[in-house]
C-alpha cells in the first residue's frame, strides 16, 4: 500500500537525520529509565497497601504499565511529531507543499516524521509487558496475543484520530500549541486501568480522550479480561474517530488559506 511506501521513504530520511545526533539516544535512554523507575516505584507503593487494585493483580498492573510505556513510545515516535509538524506547516505556509504533492495530504502529513530514539520507550514497554506476562498465572495463548495486537492497533488509530481532530483545529484557530501538554497530562492517567477512576472521569478517558482504548483495552486483551463487547466497542470507536477525523480534515483543508494569501 502506498501509505507504507510513503512512510518508509520518509522514515528513511528521518533515520538519516537522527543518526547524526547520537546524544539524543543517550537522553532518550535516560528518560525511559526514569519513566520505568517512577512507574515501578508507584506500583510497589500501591501493592505495599493492598494485593489488588479494583480487581487488577500486581502482574496485571505491570502489564498495564508496559502497555502505557509502549503506547506512549508509539505516540511520541510517530503521532505527536507528525501532528506538531502539521501545526507548524499550516502556520508558516509550508502546508502548501503537502497539498501540491500527488499523494493524499492527510496520509502524507501523518507519516512524515519518526523520532527513532522513542523506539527505546516501545522496547522498554515491551520488556515490562513480557515480564508481566511471565508473572501472570495463566499462560498467554496465540489468540490472546493476536487480540492484544489488534487492540493495540485500534487504540493507536483512535489516539491518532483524536490528535488529528485536535490538530486540524489549526485551520480555524491558528495557535493551539498547548494541546501537546494537555494531551500528555491526560495520557498520564492511562498509567492505571480506567476502571479505578470515578465514573465521570472514566467516561472522559474513554470517549473524550480515548486513553482507555489505547492502554486499558490492550491490557485487558493481554490479561484475558477482554470481552467481545469491549473489543467491538474499541473497533467502533476507532472507525468512528477515523471517520470524524477525515471529515474534519477535509473541512479544514477546504478552509485553508495559506500563510500569505
Amino acid at each position: 500500500m502506498s501509505i507504507f511506501r510513503l512512510a518508509a521513504a520518509h522514515w528513511r530520511v528521518n533515520a538519516l537525520n537522527e543518526l547524526q545526533y547520537r546524544v539524543n539516544l543517550v537522553v532518550q535512554l535516560f528518560q525511559s529509565l526514569i519513566a520505568l523507575a517512577t512507574g515501578l516505584i508507584g506500583l510497589s507503593l500501591v501493592f505495599r497497601q493492598t494485593d489488588d487494585l479494583a480487581g487488577w493483580s500486581r502482574p496485571e498492573l505491570l502489564a498495564v504499565m508496559g502497555v502505557h510505556l509502549l503506547m506512549g513510545g508509539i505516540i511520541q515516535a510517530v503521532v505527536q511529531p507528525n501532528m506538531q509538524r502539521l501545526m507548524g506547516d499550516v502556520q508558516n505556509g509550508l502546508f502548501d507543499y503537502s497539498l501540491v504533492k500527488p499523494v493524499d495530504a492527510q496520509a502524507l502529513s501523518s507519516v512524515r516524521e519518526l523520532r527513532i530514539w522513542q523506539v527505546v520507550d516501545v522496547l522498554v514497554g515491551a520488556a515490562v509487558l513480557a515480564v508481566a506476562v511471565v508473572q501472570l498465572d495463566a499462560r498467554v495463548g496465540v489468540g490472546q496475543a493476536l487480540w492484544f495486537v489488534v487492540a493495540l492497533v485500534l487504540g493507536a488509530l483512535s489516539i491518532y484520530s483524536f490528535w488529528l481532530i485536535l490538530t486540524t483545529g489549526v485551520f480555524w484557530i491558528i495557535r493551539i500549541e498547548n494541546i501537546v501538554e494537555l494531551f500528555q497530562g491526560v495520557y498520564q492517567a492511562g498509567r492505571w486501568p480506567v476502571g479505578i477512576y470515578p465514573p465521570w472521569l472514566r467516561g472522559g478517558l474513554t470517549f473524550l480522550v480515548p486513553v482507555a482504548f489505547a492502554v486499558t483495552v490492550p491490557s485487558e486483551a493481554m490479561t484475558g479480561r477482554l470481552t467481545p463487547q469491549t473489543m467491538a466497542l474499541a473497533f467502533g470507536v476507532a472507525v468512528g474517530l477515523m471517520a470524524v477525523a477525515r471529515g474534519v480534515w477535509r473541512l479544514g483543508v477546504r478552509r485553508y488559506g495559506g500563510a500569505s494569501a
Partner: protein
C-alpha cells in the same frame, strides 16, 4: 476531462477571504473575544485568461494585488469563491493525482529540503513521493544537476549551502517529475544577481527542452524581461493588462524618451532651447535625453532632425520598471476613484475557448 487545451485557463475566477477585524487597543481586543467582527476581503475579483502550452508568462502586480491567491487557486491550494479554472484539463482544487503529478509549485521564501541532509536525500524522497522509476529519476536528476551546474553541492548538507544554492536545489527537487506546468511564486526573491541569472537561464532551458508552461510572479523585472514575452498585470484583484511585454509600454507609457546627440563640441548643447521640444531628463556631454508625449514623439523627432545638427537620435519606451510603476499607479488611482479595476483598459484579455466543465 475538460478540453486539455489551453494548458491553463481561468474564467471569472474570484476569491474572497473572510478576515477578523478590530481596532487597536486592549478594549477592542477584549470586545473581540465576545463579539468578533468579520470583514470580507476580495483578493481576486474575477480574472479571465488562458495560457497556451509552452508559454512563459509573467504575472505582475504590487503586493496584495492577488497574484499569489490566483496562483494558489490554479495550483489547487485554494478553493475559489466563484469562477472556473482548469490546468491541463483538470479542475485544480479537486487535486487529482493525475494533475498533481504533472505540475509543480516553487515559492521563493519557502524551503522544503531536508535541512540536515545532503540535497540528494531530499531528491530521493521526492522521487518516492512522485513514484518515479529509479532509472528515470536518476537520469532526470543528473540532467537537472548538470543544467544547474551544482554537481559538487548536492552532497553537502543543505544547511551549509547559501540561500542561492538552496534555491537551486529547491528547483531541482521541484522538477524531478518533469512537470508540464510550473507555478513560480517569487522564485528569485532575496537572491544575488548571479544566482538570479542562473535560475532564469535554468527555467528558460527547462522550458525549451520540455515545452512546459510557466506562470511566474516576480518583483524583479529582470526575471520577467529575460523569460516572458507575455505578461498579465493584476491590481486590486482585477486584470489590468494581458499581452506582449513590449505592448505594455505602448499601452501604459504616456511618453517616449528621445536621446539626441549633437554634432560638434559639448557647448552646442547649451545653445539649444530644449524646452521647446520636451522635458529634459538628463544631459551627458553632447547627449541630451528628453521626454515627449507619446503621440507627438515622431513629430518632435522630425523637428529635432530638421532644426539641429544631429549626430545620433534614439526613440525609446521608458524602462519597463517605470512602465509597471505607472500601471500600478493607474490601477491605484482607479481604485481610489471608487471604480473597479475591471473598468480600466483591458486591451487584450483573451477569452478562454468554449469549454465544458464536466
Amino acid at each position: 476531462m475538460i478540453d486539455p487545451h489551453p494548458a491553463v485557463w481561468a474564467r471569472d475566477l474570484a476569491k474572497t477571504f473572510r478576515v477578523p477585524e478590530r481596532e487597536a487597543g486592549v478594549l477592542a481586543a477584549v470586545k473581540s473575544l465576545v463579539h468578533r467582527r468579520m470583514k470580507d476581503v476580495a483578493a481576486v475579483k474575477g480574472v479571465t485568461f488562458r495560457l497556451e502550452p509552452g508559454e512563459v508568462v509573467g504575472f505582475l502586480g504590487p503586493n496584495g494585488a492577488g497574484k499569489t491567491t490566483t496562483l494558489k487557486m490554479l495550483a489547487g491550494l485554494l478553493h475559489p469563491t466563484a469562477g472556473q479554472a482548469a490546468v491541463l484539463g483538470h479542475v485544480p482544487w479537486k487535486r487529482e493525482r493525475a494533475l498533481l503529478s504533472r505540475i509543480t509549485l516553487v515559492m521563493g521564501n519557502r524551503n522544503q529540503m531536508q535541512w540536515d541532509l545532503p540535497a540528494l536525500d531530499s531528491f530521493a524522497l521526492n522521487a518516492a513521493i512522485y513514484r518515479l522509476p529509479p532509472a528515470e529519476f536518476a537520469r532526470t536528476r543528473d540532467e537537472l544537476i548538470d543544467l544547474m551546474g551544482v554537481g559538487e553541492l548536492v552532497t553537502k548538507p543543505v544547511r551549509n549551502l547559501s540561500l542561492g544554492e538552496r534555491m537551486k536545489m529547491e528547483f531541482i527537487a521541484s522538477l524531478l517529475h518533469r512537470p508540464q506546468v510550473l507555478f513560480l511564486d517569487e522564485p528569485t526573491i532575496g537572491l544575488d544577481v548571479t544566482a538570479q541569472r542562473t535560475l532564469r537561464q535554468f527555467v528558460a532551458e527547462y522550458n525549451r527542452r520540455t515545452g512546459a508552461t510557466v506562470l511566474l510572479t516576480s518583483h524583479y523585472m529582470a526575471d520577467v524581461t529575460a523569460l516572458c514575452r507575455r505578461v498579465i498585470v493584476i491590481h486590486h484583484g482585477s486584470l489590468l493588462y494581458d499581452g506582449d511585454l513590449a505592448g505594455l509600454g505602448e499601452q501604459f507609457a504616456a511618453y517616449k524618451t528621445l536621446g539626441v546627440t549633437l554634432d560638434g563640441a559639448d557647448g552646442a548643447v547649451a545653445g539649444v532651447d530644449w524646452a521647446a521640444f520636451g522635458e529634459v531628463v538628463a544631459t551627458d556631454g553632447a547627449k541630451v535625453t528628453i521626454q515627449v508625449p507619446r503621440a507627438s514623439a515622431s513629430a518632435v523627432a522630425a523637428r529635432v532632425l530638421s532644426e539641429l545638427q544631429v549626430a545620433d537620435l534614439t526613440i525609446e519606451d521608458p524602462p519597463i520598471d517605470e512602465v509597471i510603476a505607472r500601471v500600478f499607479a493607474a490601477g491605484a488611482a482607479t481604485a481610489a476613484a471608487g471604480t473597479d479595476g475591471d473598468d480600466v483598459a483591458t486591451p487584450s484579455v483573451v477569452e478562454p475557448a468554449a469549454t465544458s466543465t464536466a
